[in-house]
């Protein structure tokens, strides 16, 4: 029995690539989607050599909304699982002063991912099966001075995933929201992150394969984040606004 492929949107990212490895290791074919997809040829060869699974490359730009329908139509096979690892943190300072910079953060973390997942959702819905995975962030659970533009986009994405899950629950399509907390990736390289709270990309990938297999809804990659965010969400606004966390 051949397994259905897994589509990775934003495959070049550390998390995207780790997810590709995790599914390929289970013997699943992988579709890698990213900008300049051709340059992922070495990653494709690596995955094929390691896991003996077919890997294909697909040109994809999360911000080119007008292309998303064509992108979904052009996939050689509608995937069984689609994982959206698209994201862009930007610089909070820049987002505060440049509307264009802020828009890019909002569009990369919310508009683009929502658009492509909508395209896939309608196709999965029609087929009556499939799993959509959105990688959001704990930053979306409460806006903080240090990254609220990014946080706002992720909040939007989290709400979007929740609504999508609600809409598709009776249609055989499952939606997973992944909240990674800190992850040691290229995006966070050089930041001073606490070891105990920082996951490796492979851990995120394992959380995702596990969540899709067990049909979980919302997963925190490191369980401690559930508690941390519970506390942070419940700090009264009057207190929160004077804090710097």
């Amino acid at each position: 029995m051949s397994k259905s492929p897994v589509l990775i949107l934003g495959a070049r990212s550390d998390i995207g690539m780790a997810v590709a490895h995790a599914y390929a290791a289970q013997g699943r074919p992988v579709q890698l989607a990213a900008r300049n997809a051709d340059s992922l040829e070495p990653q494709k060869t690596d995955l094929e050599l390691r896991y003996s699974v077919p890997v294909s490359l697909h040109e994809f730009d999360a911000l080119a909304l007008e292309e998303h329908e064509r992108f979904a139509d052009a996939l050689p096979e509608l995937p069984g699982i689609a994982v959206c690892a698209v994201g862009f943190m930007g610089e909070q300072g820049e987002s505060e002063t440049s509307p264009a910079a802020a828009a890019q953060v909002l569009r990369s973390n919310f508009e683009g991912p929502a658009s492509i997942l909508s395209e896939l959702a309608s196709r999965f819905e029609q087929r009556g099966s499939g799993t959509l995975v959105g990688i959001s962030s704990v930053a979306g659970e409460r806006g903080r001075a240090t990254n609220y533009v990014y946080g706002a986009a992720k909040a939007g994405f989290t709400a979007f995933l929740s609504g999508l899950r609600n809409r598709l629950a009776r249609k055989g399509v499952h939606v997973v929201t992944v909240l990674p907390g800190f992850v040691a990736t290229q995006m966070t390289e050089g930041m001073d992150l606490p070891d105990k709270l920082t996951a490796q990309p492979g851990e995120v990938a394992r959380a995702i394969t596990d969540a899709t297999a067990k049909q979980k809804n919302v997963v925190y990659v490191r369980p401690v984040w559930r508690l941390i965010m519970l506390i942070i969400r419940n700090i009264p606004e009057g207190v929160f606004k004077k804090m710097s966390i």
Partner: protein
Amino acid sequence: MRGLSGWGNYPVAQAQLLAPRSEAELQRLITDSPSVIARGNGRAYGDSAVGVPATLHMRHFNKMISFDAETGLLVAESGVLLGDIISAFLPRGWFPLVVPGTKFVTLGGAIAADVHGKNHHKDGSFRSGLDWVEVMGPDGTVRRCSAEENTELFNWTAGGMGLTGVILRAAIRLRRVPSAWIRQDTIPAANLDAAIEIFERSAAATYSVAWIDCLAGGDNLGRSLVMLGEHALLQDLSYDQAARPFAIPRASNRTVPPVFPSFALNRYSVRAFNAAYYWAGARKAGRQITGYDSFFFPLDALLGWNRIYGRKGFAQFQCVLPLDSARAGLRALLEAISAAGQGSFLAVLKRLGAQNSAFSFPMEGYTLALDFPVNRRSLQLMQDLDRITIAHGGRFYLAKDSRMSRDTLRAADPRAAEYAGMRQMSGLHPSFQSAQSQRLSL
């Protein structure tokens, strides 16, 4: 800057860890930094993969590039782990020609230390299976080297401890194996003479290694369990195993708690552990079919076991003694250890075969490896062991060293001065330095 050390957590140096993701970035780091050293997976015990000020984390170079299923030739980037190679190719019937006692080492680290396995007496060191290597030099140029091309660079790179440049890619030959199981024979040896005799008459065995009770003294000095291994053939396996010869039930990994109570590690517990291990093994002596993981990499099942030695860390002593003085030398080493009462959980004895290399560790003879928690007494003992080794014509393994002196190395190994001279002459010295090469003036 951060505290960086090797697997023994000793010594710790303040170093900057740089993690390039492309050749261009690597080139820039090499040409811009006063000196760098490559780091693979940090499984060298001491400071050989610690560069002050700059250490290059090479794990982003971790792609496999090609595999020839006719010849078993694998081309891969240097940050690929041997464990990944095994996971990918053992199910297809291929295994690396040489593996060290842990599979969590990178290809680059295995080449730079020219690691040896339990089959050194038969198959030689890692370089026996190495077709070519690509090395980035001080000017950022990448050179391919092999036994035919840039031969001198090739010779010094295998076993050169990263001091000839940064290894980017390599081609290694895998061997065909009939299954993922090992047919293991365990033979108890009542003392050192018995152990040596077993090794000498087992030269035909593909794999051999002995676990040695280094606290036993008197008539029991050198008491050990010799383990011989062969890749199991289908007829060696049970019906179920033979049906899927490359499928091995996955052993669960266990993790050592971050702070292991240090009172659990003292001379009494170590002595008791060693004796119990010997008697348990002696009772189970004989033939057994075992998974490749537990035969080659027994320690890997216990993730983070290096932490049991506590915050001060531990050091390994590993030397090799030439064949004709091995018996007397081993006896002297074991007597010193037993007398000091400084036991080691992990004491390993191996018969090495002949090897002519520019700077690799192995030579024909016997190698003894032991772990000690770092403290004043054990550091003193290791200096005594250094002297005994030198007196018997032996030499030391740089991948395990964390504390030797420049003079000890020079006295044991005339090749060190030659290597240092070559590095000066060819301009490698200013660019590639580790805390170890600085300590040892390499």
